[in-house]
């Protein structure tokens, strides 16, 4: 960590907002369809199960952070795996954060291109997004916290607008339950866990947060519950709105269901929600870009701070441009992300958690004193 960073502090509520905003990204738009394709009408059950599992992961992350006071993700990796292996793992996280950032940026470009601005060159959309995200992360953790907190009101606004989806809803579409196979359930839980996997980023922010670990754990679990219930809400609205066959054909159900919602002030609510959603896309993207930038800074090489940021963003921009060219390229990125997500969001955190009992530093310090 750079010296100036250590003085930065964020409050507990800011930590919660960072968590919420980095969780809700692209998945809020398409999670319902993905879940429905895997598990059918039982999607919301797997969402709940996956949500509970993600809470355990959040608690594990808080525990890891507690064992290594003041250390960020990459220092912890080095403390646990040793210098060499830790650097390798750190580089792995660099790649992972990059891939997620690329995925978020490309999806954002695709969506805006499909729904809103078909004539605008996609590169311009990427650059606009990148500028916003770069500004957000340029000021370090405190600025990120402030920006994310500021935008939290969007969550409330979007939730209210989703109520329009209930206009044509039929709750019979939620039934029958318990029809999916066991493997379907596992797949649904996996999908849910991945879309709630921003808990990994928490290790970057936890050292800056003020307050006891008990309070941190409580705040983060609360924040995670908000995200889970928000997801549950979107899944239920879109299931009840579309029915069991149509939803598989619609990739962004929560937008699609608002296409006929007519209000006095706004004619096309779907477009309005999409514009609001770009904020979520930006915050999630910024969070992962920040992660990648931090990781790049840890790769042992003498360099200036801004260089980290620019190198990372140029890589993200270039790969996003390539993957935005056609669906096949994008598929490659998604498949690659799917492959590595498991290691970095499930296996390594569990490993860190188990090893943290052996190598914890908080107890050592007490013993030394």
């Amino acid at each position: 960590m750079a010296k100036s960073d250590t003085q930065q502090k964020i409050t507990l509520s800011q930590l919660a907002y960072i968590f919420i905003q980095s969780q809700i990204g692209v998945d809020i738009l398409n999670l319902s369809t993905v879940l429905h394709r895997e598990v059918g009408a039982d999607g919301w059950i797997t969402l709940l199960i996956g949500g509970v599992i993600s809470i355990f992961f959040v608690l594990m992350i808080v525990h890891i952070s507690r064992c290594f006071p003041g250390e960020g993700l990459f220092d912890i990796l080095k403390s646990i795996f040793g210098r060499k292996l830790g650097s390798v793992a750190g580089f792995g996280y660099y790649v992972y954060f990059l891939v997620v950032a690329i995925y978020l940026l490309t999806s954002f470009g695709e969506l805006i291109n499909e729904w809103l601005l078909p004539e605008t060159p996609i590169l311009v959309l990427y650059v606009l997004m990148l500028i916003c995200a770069l500004y957000t992360i340029s000021g370090g953790v405190t600025l990120i916290a402030k920006v994310f907190t500021f935008f939290a009101v969007i969550l409330f606004l979007i939730s209210v607008l989703f109520l329009f989806g209930f206009v044509d809803a039929k709750f019979i579409y939620m039934l029958p339950i318990g029809q999916a196979s066991f493997s379907g359930y596992i797949e649904g839980i996996r999908v849910t866990l991945y879309s709630l996997s921003s808990y990994v980023l928490l290790l970057l922010f936890l050292p800056y947060a003020q307050g006891s670990y008990k309070k941190k754990a409580r705040t983060l679990v609360g924040a995670n519950l908000i995200v889970i219930f928000f997801y549950l809400y979107t899944v239920i609205v879109s299931f009840a709105h579309f029915g069991s066959d149509q939803i598989d054909h619609v990739s962004q159900p929560v937008l699609y269901m608002l296409r006929t919602a007519d209000s006095v002030i706004i004619t096309r609510i779907d477009i309005f929600v999409l514009s609001l959603w770009t904020v979520f896309a930006m915050t999630a993207f910024a969070a992962y870009l920040y992660g990648a930038e931090r990781a790049f800074a840890k790769i042992p090489m003498p360099k200036k701070k801004m260089l980290n940021v620019y190198t990372t963003s140029i890589i993200v921009l270039a790969v996003s441009y390539w993957s935005g060219l056609n669906e096949e390229n994008f598929r490659v990125v998604i498949d690659f992300q799917d492959k590595i997500t498991e290691y970095f969001t499930v296996l390594i955190p569990v490993l860190l958690f188990l090893l943290s009992f052996l190598r914890r530093k908080d107890k050592q310090k007490e013993a030394a004193q």
């Binding site: 500028i131 039929k170 029958p176 029915g243 006929t260």
Partner: protein, 372 residues
């Protein structure tokens, strides 16, 4: 360097919108479209484009323009229409989409697919079926109408208000179009008065995505719409409650439905595979009773006769629905939801015609009007 980058950044922010502007003056908006299938199986698309001339005071006279084109797909027909226009034709603000019965009987899905796929399209379009040629119905422009382009839309909208038609749109039928064990109805129109007017004829019953050719006739629609749990601003039903009285109108009464509640319950049944109970409670006001002298003592009898007449009407409607094999109440989906294992044993394509649907209608006469 810093100045330059600031200028460049602000340029990207300010100029980025220019690619996607669509100026209103550059497009012609179609308000109503008619899709037809000719005898030889050629698909034709006719659109109505209103042009409002500016005048010094108030909205000017509206002139309408009709264009017909053929094509293999709706989009190709659209391109063919475009060739004859000075500006680009856009169906993004379409209000009504008419299907000729020939085309509707085959399959409407290929023709509405573009509406679902393109995010620029408005899904609030009201689809309707026209007996005979849809093009002909579109071209009916009564002189008395202020806005000829809104004539057909007005007909459909007012029928929703009088509880004769269900509120529908492409979005609303979207899930029924796909869902197994659930079908839908669309308003049915017909050209009348030797081509001078268009009239609402009832509701066209669909199965999957094609018109079955069977309809719920106009005098049965109100009861049907109430059973579907919708009510417009007014709901009136005229029923025959007596036989053989002279003069003829004495046999009838017209009721105004003030309040209603409707419940549909389906469950597996040994004898008929599935039994569905439709419970409809109506709170009504007697609006017309040509016999006069509607004494308080007569009410129980009138109520009984009314219930009988309405139940007969409901039975008739249900028989039509079952004949058409159009599961508009979503009974199949309901069984699938509540009894999934039982559903798997059913062959809904065949079984729907066999199931038992029983209407239970109760009438509560709240008022007889101010003249007794």
């Amino acid at each position: 360097m810093k100045k330059l980058s600031i200028i460049l950044l602000s340029c990207t922010l300010i100029l980025s919108g220019c690619w996607d502007t669509r100026e209103f003056k550059e497009v012609k908006l179609g308000i109503t479209a008619a899709y037809d299938m000719t005898e030889d199986g050629v698909y034709t698309n006719t659109i109505l484009i209103p042009n409002v001339q500016n005048s010094a005071q108030g909205p000017g006279q509206e002139s309408t323009q009709f264009l017909t084109a053929i094509g293999n797909t709706p989009t190709e027909a659209r391109t063919n229409i475009d060739r004859r226009l000075s500006s680009t034709y856009s169906p993004a603000q379409l209000d009504v989409l008419l299907f000729g019965s020939n085309l509707a009987k085959q399959d409407i899905y290929p023709y509405v697919d573009a509406y679902y796929r393109d995010p620029r399209m408005h899904l609030d379009v009201v689809p309707a079926v026209v007996k005979g040629s849809a093009e002909q119905a579109l071209k009916v422009v009564p002189k008395s109408e202020m806005r000829p382009s809104e004539y057909i839309e007005g007909i459909v909208d007012s029928e929703v208000e009088t509880t004769n038609s269900l509120e529908t749109s492409l979005q609303a039928i979207g899930s029924e179009l796909y869902e197994e064990g659930e079908d839908f109805v669309l308003p049915l129109l017909q050209v009348g008065d030797s081509g001078k007017t268009v009239s609402f004829e009832g509701l066209a019953l669909f199965h999957d995505s094609s018109y079955t050719g069977k309809d719920i006739s106009f005098d049965h629609t109100t009861l049907f719409v109430l059973m579907k749990k919708q009510k417009g601003k007014v709901a009136r039903i005229t029923a025959k409650i007596f036989d053989g009285k002279k003069p003829e109108p004495d046999n009838y009464t017209t009721i105004n439905i003030e309040d209603f509640s409707s419940k549909i319950k389906s469950k597996p049944d040994k004898q008929n595979k599935v039994r569905t109970d439709i419970t409809l409670d109506l709170t009504v006001m007697i609006q017309e009773y040509p016999q006069d002298h509607l004494a308080l003592a007569d009410l129980p009898e009138v109520k009984k006769k009314l219930e009988q007449a309405l139940t007969d009407q409901a039975n008739e409607t249900l028989r039509t629905i079952q004949d058409a094999n159009s599961d508009v109440f979503g009974i199949g989906r309901n069984i699938n939801g509540h009894y999934p294992s039982y559903w798997k044993k059913l062959d809904w394509e065949k079984d729907f015609k066999e199931i038992k649907i029983v209407p239970h209608i109760t009438v509560n006469i709240r008022s007889r009007g101010i003249f007794r």
